[in-house]
């Protein structure tokens, strides 16, 4: 893999859908080891932003650079370094947990023997690995989906509302997992509307409102107060 990168930079990125501006001139730069929290109310444009970072949605204007290269230059190479946990789970409900992971591992050119077992272990689904995903609870699916997104040890980890449907202990587990990824050198970007869960995990906070980036600063005390003032609801 030659397309490895240390930073992801968005420069003046916008995306419209007809007359609706989903994202307006957003610029930021995230490096290895950082956990950037994209905070904002529902419909603020977080998912579109995540979609663009994942190369699935083309910006109407502006560019996103992955260590100097754009998705246009080196699509597959960059995609091989991105892991996305989207709002939808990207799992085949008819297949078992094992089959899902095995399929995606092979799609990413990995030997499935080792990675699948490790991923199942990490999701805590060893004993249910041969059950169909459709029989899983929302929390189990969410954990499996996260492991699916991380199978290929991506450099850039994108998460859209990763805590949906998780109970408290699972939230702690996932947070721990993300923190460890960042400390191992991943770039983690996570979009959420839930301030409480992001607090303590993120190292930087970017607040998005109506498609615009209204603040971008290191995480720390007083986050809640600032969020409330900026979002205003």
């Amino acid at each position: 893999m030659t397309a490895d990168f240390d930073r992801v930079e968005a420069a003046e990125v916008s995306r419209n859908f007809g007359r609706r501006r989903a994202v307006t001139r957003v610029s930021f730069s995230v490096g290895r080891g950082e956990v950037l929290g994209l905070l904002g109310p529902n419909g603020a444009g977080k998912s579109t932003l995540i979609g663009m970072l994942a190369t699935l949605v083309t910006p109407t204007s502006g560019t996103i650079r992955y260590g100097g290269r754009t998705a246009g230059d080196a699509g597959p190479d960059i995609r091989a370094r991105i892991g996305l946990l989207a709002h939808e789970l990207y799992l085949y409900p008819e297949l078992s947990a094992h089959q899902n992971l095995e399929f995606f591992a092979q799609l990413y050119g990995l030997r499935p023997d080792g990675v699948v077992g490790a991923a199942l272990e990490s999701a805590g689904l060893m004993d249910r690995s041969h059950d169909a995903v459709s029989s899983f609870s929302r929390g189990m699916r969410q954990k499996l989906a996260l492991e699916r997104a991380l199978l290929h040890r991506p450099r850039l980890v994108l998460l859209d509302e990763p805590f949906t449907g998780l109970d408290d202990s699972a939230v702690t587990g996932v947070s721990e997992r993300l923190r460890r990824l960042a400390s191992e050198g991943a770039i983690v970007i996570l979009a959420t509307h839930d301030l409480d869960l992001a607090d303590g995990l993120v190292t930087r906070v970017a607040i998005v409102r109506d498609g615009k980036l209204v603040s971008d600063e290191p995480a720390g005390g007083g986050l809640r107060g600032r969020y409330r003032t900026l979002v205003g609801r």
Partner: protein
Amino acid sequence: MFLKTVLLVVKKDFAIEVKSYEILSTTLFFAVTCVLIFSFAFVREAEPISKDMVPSGVLWIAVAFAGLLAIGRVFERERYSETMRALLLAPAPRPAIYLGKLVGVVLLLFATEALLVPMIALIFQAPLFRWAVPLSGLLVTGTIGFATVGTLFAAMLVRSRARDVMLPILLYPFTIPVLIGGVWGTAALLGDEPSVPVATMWTGLLAAYDVVFVTLALWTFEPLMTE
């Protein structure tokens, strides 16, 4: 109260429909396409339908309807959990994803045809097995042609609203040459004077169709799938 409810529901449906005429216009269009399909399957030079045209027409119309259903369902599965996007996100070459879906659809349809052909042979007493090899050639090339266009359109419609009505509307006008080739190639094998060369000629046309449309689909799949 009963009649009042009936009226109320009708009025509500009408109020929705006149806003866009979506159902009316798409249904009307689909009906016209169906007339076209049946015309090509059963009419030749305005002559009355002859006996050997019925089984071949029924066979290919069944393939067309079943194909539509299969293609729609195959992509509904990719839509359910947005796995289509997961496939596009993988570093794999995107035309390979298209080809994979296409092969899956084609195999499903072959399995259907394996049951369909004996059934039609039995019901219509048609000597379908007398020319098994040329008939297989027609079915293979015809099925691929049908699935090629269908798979591409269905893949693109995954993101779209109203995909269940749009798929037949888009697919049937495009697959008319496949239908004509299939029906008349098969009919040539079933008549009083069966002619293998005629069937082979139609197979050739279908094969050319396959080559052109598979190439076009592979060429346009990647740019067409980016949002």
